[in-house]
């Protein structure tokens, strides 16, 4: 079973280039993800839309960190804790980071013991 990943380049209504990502990102497809991100190179901001991503781990985060110069990220409640813990929000704009899911915890909300 290979990790499912869809990548679609598009433009938002305001003309900003965007990358719509779906599926899961792990070390098996991080390379593919990186290739999709580094494609532009002309200095314009790329919106990386992770709304449909169900899983991202440190391999995926590393790709995002490597591209902080030209991206903004749109998160979803499920992956928001991981992005928050990583500190990505301190470097670039990450949308949807503060809004914890209804009744669910935001970053670090996992009780441990």
């Amino acid at each position: 079973m290979t990790t499912p990943l869809t990548l679609a380049h598009t433009r938002r209504t305001d003309g900003t280039p965007a990358l719509i990502v779906g599926g899961e990102i792990d070390m098996s497809n991080a390379g593919e993800f990186a290739a999709a991100l580094s494609g532009t190179g002309d200095g314009t901001v790329l919106v990386v839309d992770l709304t449909d991503v169900g899983y991202i781990d440190s391999a995926g985060l590393t790709v995002l960190f490597d591209n902080t110069g030209h991206i903004e990220v749109v998160a979803n409640p499920l992956i928001a804790p991981v992005l928050a813990i990583s500190g990505l929000g301190d470097l670039i704009t990450v949308h949807g980071l503060d809004a914890g899911p209804d009744g669910g915890p935001a970053a670090g909300g996992l009780t441990t013991g």
């Binding site: 079973m1 499912p4 991981v82 669910g104």
Partner: protein, 1379 residues
């Protein structure tokens, strides 16, 4: 025929991936008489399908030749006969065909099924004729016309169970012999008689015991009786018993058939080919006591279970022999001690009665006669001297015995004074010169002056020297006696050497033993009490010295006495400054007189200068006044009567009577001035006479003087209490009697002379006596008082606190006891008590005190008069007995070593009322294991002083009490697991006396035995558990389950409880817990059959209620299976749904994750075979995530005097409490938490399951695997009831751990295995990821991306540990799941 219809059709006929299905599909059926399978009757095709899809061993026989078809489960049963597909039955099974052939034929002929249970079939399937047992039913298979064409069979190989039960019975039979044998040989014979009955497992046995003289093994017993296997001529030899005895390691022989001819077969067709020779272990720490040869039956391979069975047989046999040896040893010791005690007691108790009266009657008259007949005929005088000498001899014997009793009671009054030992010794030796000269021996006395004085008690030293000289003379006939004295190494060394007959080496060790007489070929006299040398040794010991003897038969004997110079070794209070006394010549007389009598008469020494009776004898005392007083003499001994009359007649008017009754009548008729009466008399004894006289006013005032041979402690007070005026103990001198008579007659005439009356009274008392004033000041004591306590009249008055009152600092308890009695003495004035007092010499004396208040008739003051009796010996005897009894009771109730030790420590603590008692056990070099009566503490937490005391015991020899100072004492003893040190922490400065030490040694010895006994019980317990497991069979529990079985602890027995877990297709698992009625082997056997049946039924896909209904029918047929209770469930681990039914079994308990508790009380019906044929209800329960299920048998919860529901409630609370604990730990926790104090009294089975079962994923280290792993983990987490956010966090944390394992753990080994395991508890979960590579130490600056992974793991999981190891890395994470 063709295969035109293709493989699809064959797939339908013979479905599934199993080996046998493949073989059947490939088999060229068309070439066999069975023909194309598609032409087979429906019943055969169905039977084949059932067979191939079943996990239970099944076979189908078909056609007139009974051709053979079977499934994969049957393969192991077939052994090397596989492949045998479609072969005719008789060809495959020639060896069992005589048995099974007719059975199959009968099914084919009649169409009726057969049932065989545990049927013995000797099969040859592994290259030898094997003993196997089978339970199966042959059912007919009909063709489409209804004709029987074949047979269908589901079989169960019950060999392991049948043999396991049989072996268990052998071991129990052996165990039952415990305590029967009275000797090692008898124990061997008993063991062999048991093994003779066990021929099927031990066809031949031989026990060899180590011969003490040369350590060679000697045959003690064989089984069967009379078996004498002859070694073959060219064989490698007989049994290697000597080698095994030396090496103490078992040897297995596989060439037995080549070594011996005619070995018994044990009922099997072939003789044994294999055997074991095992050492018989000795008691702990000692060598093997022998070896045992155990042949293995040819019907069973000598595999590991067989070897361990034989090892258990050897162990049980060794235990029997050891117990018999210990019994013998103990018995011998007990007899020896008892004999010694008997001899001693008889001697001492007889001596006063039997010797005192005749001694009086001899010495008194002889003294008179020697004076009166000074000028008489020489012949008469010589006769008189004979009598006189014999009297002296008797007196000496009595004195020696009295010395002994004084030494034993610690009452020997010694006065150690500095003397010129050379002079004193030479003077003593000179006394013997004439006797030795007369014997014709050379007498050499070589005593040059010593450099310094030696402290001795003159009286004792005299006895030492005279005894030794007397001994030398007695046994020397030629040559010389030599006495030498030298100073050597700070000691004065006296040697007395003779050239006599000597002493045999074997007798030397007992030379100084009391009452032991050495039977010699020749001596000057056969007289001798066997106590002279024993007394010498005691006296020398009192001096702090030693004595030993060297002897050679026919060459002579040398006694060497060593006395230290100085006074450091002597009790300070007994040392006096300067020599005051001289050797009393009177003391030497008996020795010399006795010695002379051994020698031939010599007229020259006749009338030797022996002292007369002394100046005290002055004849009858004249009585004042005119008329002589009238004295009435009452004695039943005519000699004594005449003697008394003769003494008294010159001065008194005497009348004599022979018993108390006549005396009373005479006194009533005419009251005399004095009655002199014996105490022991027929009709009316002396005491009764006194009482009768006192009762009548006419005779109440007549004074009575009692005479008695009884020196017993209560005799005198008894006499005086009865109202006697005076009391005289035999032997008494004539003068003494006359003085007393005169005094009493005078007293009778002069009433009011209280002081004199009292002096006479007190002096005559044998018992300690005291008078004290109102405030307790002691103003009067007698001689016996001084003897018991060491404080005499010279120290009067004694004011409270008395010097014999134990000090509070030394012994608060004793201090308090004496205080209580003192308070009563002062405030109440009367009472009795037994109290501990301190003798002047420092030792503890227990006395029985009784006191009364009286008014001094002279001045009206209130006084208290009391008596003391020394009861030290009785006190310690009682204390020892009761302490031993208490310890024995406690030990006998203990069921294990730990418990026995615990109980014993508590008992010791009670005996000494100690603060605490500790036991430390050293088994290796490390810290000892500690047990204590106090709060549980570790070795390191003990106070340093206490720890040092206990540690100091380690190098001490066993059973020797160790006292390092006040406040505590210790002792060591052998414990089955190493040296055990026991420390009594008294908790205060209290002396640990010599008696305490004796008691401690005694109790420690007893404890040692108790621990060994408990050790045996532990071993038997292990044996029982091992065997129950053998019957239960090996069960590899599937993940997510934990189970326990524990036999009843008292009496230790296997039982009928069982559990079973049966994996079924899919995610389903059958779970069973059952309880057969009864105990022991019958219950275990019934259990084994029910368990097998239940398992088979579950494998056939029956539901719980169906299983129970089918079991009803089965249980009705199996003996002992009726009324069994069973809980049967089928659990779907994927959904948590549990379908269950209970046949009268206690309800299952579920502890849910939120703390809720639920009992599975539905689906209930009666126990098995109560109402066969009735349908049973079934229920189901959906286990919520993280719930814990407990199934159990009633032994876990049922207690006397407590309702079952209360027990179930307690078990429920325990599971609820442990719902966060890992299952294995919880199982152990429940077993110990719910156990009653003495252990389980019924056997217990329990089973635990937690929903969902653990997740275990193994995958190759490739990144492409990660998504699949995540998917499996996601599903599992959902089944655990985790929220989506928790799931996400766990997925990332686990994903990072897996990614790490792939990226770094397997850098050099792509695709190496990675394992992820997740386990749930009531409160959370635990995840471990294991790889086999090396984990790179995270260095975030070098690799920010990997560092981020670890950071994520730590942030998302609570507790993360990463353990890199040589074999790989383990990442361990614990995550709590919020409710």
């Amino acid at each position: 025929m063709s295969q035109a219809d293709g493989p699809g059709s064959m797939e339908l006929l013979f479905p599934g991936p199993s080996e046998m299905a493949r073989r059947m599909r490939a088999h060229p059926w068309a070439d066999t008489p069975m023909g194309d399978p598609r032409t087979w009757p429906t019943s055969l095709r169905t039977a084949c399908r059932i067979c191939l899809t079943s996990r239970f061993p099944m076979i189908v026989w078909w056609g007139p030749e009974l051709r053979f078809m079977y499934n994969d489960a049957y393969l192991p049963l077939l052994g090397s006969k596989h492949p045998a597909l479609a072969k005719p039955g008789p060809e495959i099974w020639p060896e069992i065909w005589p048995t099974v052939g007719p059975m199959l034929d009968s099914v084919m002929a009649s169409g009726e099924a057969t049932w065989s249970e545990d049927l013995l079939l000797p099969m040859n399937r592994h290259g030898y004729l094997e003993e196997t047992y089978w339970t199966y039913s042959y059912s007919p298979l009909h063709d489409d016309d209804g004709t029987v064409r074949g047979v269908f069979t589901a079989v169960s190989d019950t060999t392991q169970r049948v043999i396991g039960e049989r072996r268990l019975a052998v071991l129990q039979d052996l165990g039952a012999q415990a305590g029967r044998a009275r000797s090692a040989a008898e124990a061997c014979r008993l063991a062999c008689r048991v093994l003779e009955r066990a021929g099927a497992d031990v066809p031949y046995a031989a026990i060899y015991l180590r011969r003490p003289e040369d350590d060679e093994p000697v045959l003690a017993a064989v089984a069967p009786e009379g078996a004498e296997p002859a070694p073959l001529p060219d064989a490698p030899g007989g049994w290697p018993v000597a080698e095994v005895l030396r090496a103490e390691r078992p040897v297995t022989l596989t060439d037995v058939a080549g070594r011996f001819a005619g070995l018994p077969t044990g009922g099997w067709r072939n003789g044994p080919t294999q055997a074991m020779v095992l050492p018989l272990a000795g008691e702990i720490g000692s060598r093997a006591i022998g070896t045992i040869v155990l042949a293995a039956a040819a019907g069973r391979a000598l595999d590991e279970p067989y070897e361990s069975f034989l090892a258990l047989v050897a162990r049980q046999t060794a235990a029997l022999v050891n117990a018999a040896m210990a019994y013998q040893l103990q018995q011998r010791r007990v007899e020896e001690l008892a004999e010694l005690d008997r001899a001693k007691t008889a001697f001492f108790s007889n001596i006063s009665h039997e010797f005192r009266t005749p001694l009086t009657l001899i010495m008194g008259p002889v003294g008179e006669l020697r004076t009166a007949l000074a000028d008489a005929d020489p012949q008469v005088r010589e006769d008189l001297e004979v009598v006189h000498r014999n009297g002296l001899r008797l007196g000496k014997l009595v004195n020696t015995l009295l010395d002994f009793s004084r030494i034993e009671a610690g009452r020997m009054q010694a006065r150690y004074e500095p003397v010129d030992l050379a002079a004193v010794t030479a003077e003593l030796a000179s006394v013997f010169r004439s006797a030795i000269d007369r014997a014709g021996l050379e007498f050499e006395v070589d005593c040059p002056p010593l450099p310094e004085p030696v402290h001795i008690d003159r009286g004792m030293w005299e006895k030492v020297v005279l005894n030794l000289l007397s001994n030398a003379l007695k046994f020397t006939f030629d040559g010389s006696v030599r006495v030498t004295l030298r100073a050597d190494g700070g000691q004065a060394v006296l040697t007395i050497a003779d050239t006599g007959i000597g002493i045999a080496a074997a007798e030397l060790p007992r030379l100084f033993e009391r009452f032991h007489r050495i039977e010699s070929a020749r001596s000057r006299s056969n007289e001798g009490s066997g106590i002279g040398l024993a007394l010498v040794r005691e006296l020398i010991t009192l001096h702090g010295g030693t004595i030993d003897a060297v002897s050679e038969p026919d060459r002579g004997t040398v006694f060497t006495v060593r006395l230290p110079f100085g006074t450091g070794h002597l009790p300070a209070e007994a040392v006096v400054r300067s020599g005051s006394g001289e050797t009393s010549p009177a003391g030497t007389e008996p020795f010399v007189e006795e010695a002379l009598r051994w020698l031939p008469a010599d007229p020259a020494v006749e009338g030797a200068d022996v002292p007369g009776p002394g100046p005290g004898f002055a004849g009858p005392w004249p009585v004042d006044g005119g008329t002589p007083a009238r004295v009435l003499v009452a004695d039943d001994n005519a000699d004594m009567r005449d003697y008394l009359a003769r003494l008294l007649r010159p001065a008194y008017q005497v009348s004599v009577v022979g018993d108390g009754r006549t005396a009373l009548e005479a006194a009533r008729a005419e009251p005399p001035d004095l009655v002199v009466s014996d105490v022991m008399m027929p009709r009316l004894d002396g005491l009764q006479l006194v009482a009768a006289l006192r009762a009548e006013p006419r005779t109440a005032g007549v004074p009575v003087l009692l005479l008695s041979a009884r020196a017993g402690q209560e005799a005198s007070i008894e006499g005086l209490e009865a109202g006697a005026d005076d009391y005289l103990v035999k032997p008494f001198s004539a003068a003494e009697l006359l003085a007393r008579v005169r005094a009493n007659v005078e007293l009778a005439r002069m009433r009011g002379h209280h002081a004199r009356w009292r002096d006479a009274l007190i002096d005559s008392l044998q018992e300690a006596f005291f008078v004290c004033e109102e405030d307790g000041t002691v103003i009067e004591v007698n001689a016996a008082f001084a003897e018991i306590l060491g404080y005499g009249a010279d120290g009067l008055p004694y004011t409270p606190v008395y010097p014999w009152w134990p000090a509070e600092t030394d012994d608060p308890e004793a201090h308090r006891m004496v205080g209580d009695t003192f308070t009563r003495l002062v405030e109440v004035g009367r009472g009795t008590a037994t109290v501990p007092l301190t003798h002047r010499a420092g030792h503890r004396v227990w006395v029985a005190v009784s006191f009364n208040d009286v008014t001094d008739p002279e001045n009206g003051r209130r006084l208290v008069v009391g008596t003391l009796r020394d009861v030290t010996a009785e006190h310690y005897a009682v204390q020892r007995e009761s302490a031993l009894a208490a310890l024995s009771v406690r030990l006998s109730q203990a069921g294990s070593r730990t418990e026995a030790l615990h109980e014993a420590l508590a008992a010791l603590r009670e005996v000494w009322r100690a603060r605490q008692v500790l036991a430390a056990r050293w088994s290796g070099d490390g810290r000892p294991a500690l047990a204590t009566t106090g709060p549980d503490t570790g070795w390191e937490d003990l106070p340093a002083g206490l720890r040092d005391s206990v540690a100091g015991l380690r190098d001490k020899p066993p059973l020797r009490p160790v006292v390092t100072g006040p406040g505590g004492a210790g002792i060591t003893l052998e414990h089955p697991d190493g040296l055990l040190g026991v420390w009594i922490d008294l908790g205060q400065n209290r002396p640990f006396t010599a008696e305490d030490q004796t008691l401690l040694a005694l109790l420690a010895g007893h404890l040692g035995q108790g621990l060994h006994r408990a050790h045996q019980i532990d071993r038997q317990r292990e044996t029982a558990v091992a065997l129950q497991r053998a019957i239960l069979g090996p069960v590899d529990l599937p993940d997510g389950f934990a189970a326990r079985y524990e036999p009843a602890s008292r009496p230790l027995e296997v039982g009928g409880d069982w559990y079973d877990i049966v994996p079924l297709p899919g995610d389903r698992i059958g779970i069973v817990v059952g309880d057969c009625v009864g105990r022991g082997l019958p219950a275990a056997a019934a259990m084994g059959q029910l368990r097998s049946a239940c398992r088979a039924l579950l494998l056939q896909e029956a539901g719980p209620a169906q299983v129970l209904t089918a079991l009803d029918r089965f249980a009705a047929l199996v003996p002992g299976a009726r009324y069994t209770t069973v809980f049967c469930g089928v659990l779907d681990t994927a959904t948590g749904r549990l379908a269950y039914a209970s046949a009268g079994h206690p309800p299952g308990i579920v502890a849910e994750a939120d703390g809720g508790l639920r009992l599975l009380t539905e689906g209930r019906s009666t126990p098995l075979a109560v109402q066969p044929g009735r349908p049973r209800p079934e229920s189901s329960y959906d286990m919520p995530a993280r719930a814990t299920l407990l199934l159990y048998t009633d032994g876990l919860v049922e207690r006397r005097r407590r309702s079952l529901m209360a027990g179930i409630g307690e078990a429920g609370a325990a599971v609820q409490h442990g719902r966060g604990t890992p299952l294995e730990d919880l199982a152990g926790e429940l077993m110990s938490r719910l156990a009653p104090p003495g252990g389980y009294d019924d056997d217990v089975a329990l089973l635990l399951y937690r929903q969902p079962p653990p997740l275990e994923v193994a995958f190759p280290a490739e990144s492409g695997q990660l998504a699949g792993v995540r998917s499996a983990l996601r599903d599992w987490l959902a089944r655990c009831g985790a929220t989506p956010w928790t799931i996400q966090n766990v997925l990332v944390a686990a994903g990072e751990a897996c990614a790490n394992a792939i990226e770094h753990g397997h850098r050099d080994d792509r695709g190496g295995p990675v394992r992820l395991r997740a386990v749930v508890t009531g409160g959370g979960l635990r995840l471990t990821v294991t790889d086999t590579g090396r984990w790179k130490t995270p260095r975030p600056e070098a690799n920010p991306h990997r560092g981020r992974g670890v950071m994520l793991m730590r942030a998302l999981a609570g507790e993360v540990t990463i353990e890199p190891g040589a074999a790989g890395t383990i990442v361990d994470m614990r995550i709590r799941i919020p409710r």
